[in-house]
């Protein structure tokens, strides 16, 4: 089981995370069905490395479904089927014999509701490493600390790492979940409305964090909060009824949208 070559690779990237090449994401002719329902009706999109891209649109427009395609989380949904290709680093992640577990180490995800494991704070962050078969205690400990530091949680929890992750406040829990994702050192982070269950102060902290994370990661975030999209994202994609209506620099989308539908939505006339 133990593979020394692989372990060295992991170690290399922890010494200098910038060695890691952050890949480009390309989605081509994506169509998705849930049983008979056509949730996504043909979307093409390219996402640039080291950017924050926001997906906006009314409920049921397919933005969450689209987001979950990038780490194949839809695979477990009953009745899910799809067409098209998603290329990360040039290779299609929906090819046969793709190792989904490896993919998910590369493409992390943060969920809408903070969902820490009912384990200690330490074990929450270490989980992703332990399931990779890493047993080096010192390595795990260092990675846990650096991950907690990155999300600004270290000072708050350093004295009670053994406390249950569930004992933290909602905002802290969500930052713990982000730390847990960072510990695996993905290059892409998907966020599905990560602040919709949080208070404004916690939301501000997470937004600040997303802004910092952009340096090292590519971030795609689904949000219902128009101001949030405007504040934190470089690019914004507007989805409506399973189609990509408009996709452009956030500045352009919010100041000078090309389509009437986009303008109506961002000005709050519908949705």
């Amino acid at each position: 089981m133990e593979n020394p070559i692989k372990e060295n690779m992991v170690l290399d990237s922890v010494i200098d995370p910038s060695l890691k090449k952050i890949p480009k994401i390309e989605a081509k002719k994506i169509k998705v069905w849930y049983d008979g329902f056509n949730a996504i009706k043909g979307i093409d999109m390219t996402i640039k490395p080291n950017t924050v891209t926001a997906f906006i649109g009314p409920s049921g427009c397919g933005k969450s479904t689209f987001l979950r395609l990038f780490n194949r989380m839809n695979d477990y949904v009953d009745g899910f089927s799809m067409e098209g290709k998603i290329k990360i680093n040039g290779s299609n992640i929906y090819k046969k014999n793709v190792n989904v577990e490896e993919l998910r180490k590369e493409v992390g995800m943060v969920f809408q509701k903070p969902n820490p494991f009912p384990k200690s704070i330490f074990d929450n962050v270490a989980y992703g490493l332990k399931i990779q078969g890493i047993t080096d205690k010192k390595f795990i400990q260092e990675r846990v600390i650096s991950s907690l530091q990155q999300v600004g949680l270290w000072e708050e929890v350093k004295d009670d790492l053994k406390k249950s992750g569930l004992a933290l406040s909602g905002g802290q829990q969500q930052r713990l979940c982000i730390a847990r994702t960072l510990a695996v050192e993905p290059s892409i982070i998907l966020m599905d409305e990560p602040t919709s269950a949080l208070d404004p102060i916690s939301t501000a902290k997470i937004e600040e964090l997303i802004f910092q994370l952009k340096e090292k990661y590519t971030i795609i975030i689904v949000t219902h909060n128009m101001q949030q999209a405007g504040r934190i994202s470089d690019y914004t994609a507007f989805f409506y009824l399973g189609e990509l209506i408009e996709y452009n620099k956030t500045k352009n989308i919010f100041t000078n949208p090309e389509k009437q539908q986009t303008e109506n939505y961002i000005t709050g006339r519908f949705g």
Binding site: R104, N115, F117, Y127, G128, I131, L166, V184
Partner: protein, 284 residues
């Protein structure tokens, strides 16, 4: 009477009906246990537990039946626990949800309701005759395992279903495989529920009589079993046997044996409740 008064009246009426029903249950149980205690408590001493059966009621003990029950309990646990839990995990986490799975689910639930004597007949044919195990402890344990398997499977599935989906999602999203997610997240979170279900199923098995009679458990065995292939008796059969004797001393013995059997069941249920509470505290 206006609507609000009517509703309030209904509310009160239902409350008293509920209290009444609860009291009926409790009173019946108390009377039953009290009656048994009065009849049997004088007979319980260390000798009653360690003595072999005898023709004379005052010399008779439940040693062989108690040991038979313990053998049955242990073997049934060894057989039914891994099979039932594994089947439950498979059905809940691996099996696709289609018509076949639905059919399977209904059938397993129905199996839990099949009269126990039917399992006895199945055990007699398959284990005693075809597999040639004879009227042994092993045949009895296999039969009872069949009997409680559906209960264990259903309990396992229910416990697994109660694990929040968000926990599984989080595990998968970090690159965990299905088995890692089951082992590190789902089983620890559902362990209390699974254990409770298994213990309750076992406490049902320990009280079963009919299927074991059919399989060939004896009313009288001179020695406690010393291997899975030995002949055996169990407590409920011993009780049944004593009650059917004419001497009043045996009625006393039966009452005393019932107290011990009830004690075993209560202890097992107590353990189940303990585990459930302990787990709930840890995981919520």
């Amino acid at each position: 009477m206006n609507n609000i008064q009517k509703n309030r009246w209904k509310d009160q009426a239902f409350k008293y009906w509920g209290v009444f029903c609860t009291i009926i249950g409790l009173v019946l149980l108390t009377v039953f246990i009290g009656d048994i205690l009065i009849d049997g408590i004088v007979r319980i001493d260390w000798g009653f537990i360690t003595d072999l059966p005898s023709r004379k009621p005052e010399n008779s003990g439940i040693y062989t039946a108690l040991m038979g029950s313990i053998w049955i309990l242990i073997l049934t646990t060894i057989i039914a626990f891994p099979i039932g839990v594994a089947a439950g995990i498979y059905l809940e986490e691996y099996a696709k949800t289609n018509k076949l799975a639905g059919l399977l689910e209904i059938n397993i639930s129905n199996l839990a309701g099949v009269p126990s004597i039917i399992y006895g007949l199945l055990g007699l044919e398959v284990f005693v005759r075809i597999m040639n195990l004879g009227a042994s402890v092993l045949a009895g344990a296999l039969t009872l395992s069949l009997l409680i398997l559906p209960i264990v499977i259903v309990a396992t599935r229910e416990a697994i279903k109660a694990v929040p989906k968000s926990i599984k999602d989080a595990s998968y999203a970090l690159g965990a495989s299905k088995w890692q997610t089951i082992w590190h997240q789902i089983l620890p979170a559902s362990g209390g529920g699974i254990l409770t279900g298994v213990i309750l199923a076992l406490s049902r098995a320990v009280g079963e009589t009919a299927p074991l009679i059919v399989v060939g458990a004896l009313a009288y065995v001179p020695f406690a079993p010393s291997s899975p292939m030995d002949e055996f008796s169990v407590m409920p059969i011993q009780i049944f046997n004593w009650i059917s004797r004419p001497q009043s001393g045996f009625i006393e013995n039966a009452a005393a044996a019932i107290i011990i059997l009830l004690g075993i069941t209560f202890i097992m249920n107590g353990i189940a409740v303990y585990f459930r509470n302990k787990w709930q505290k840890k995981w919520k």
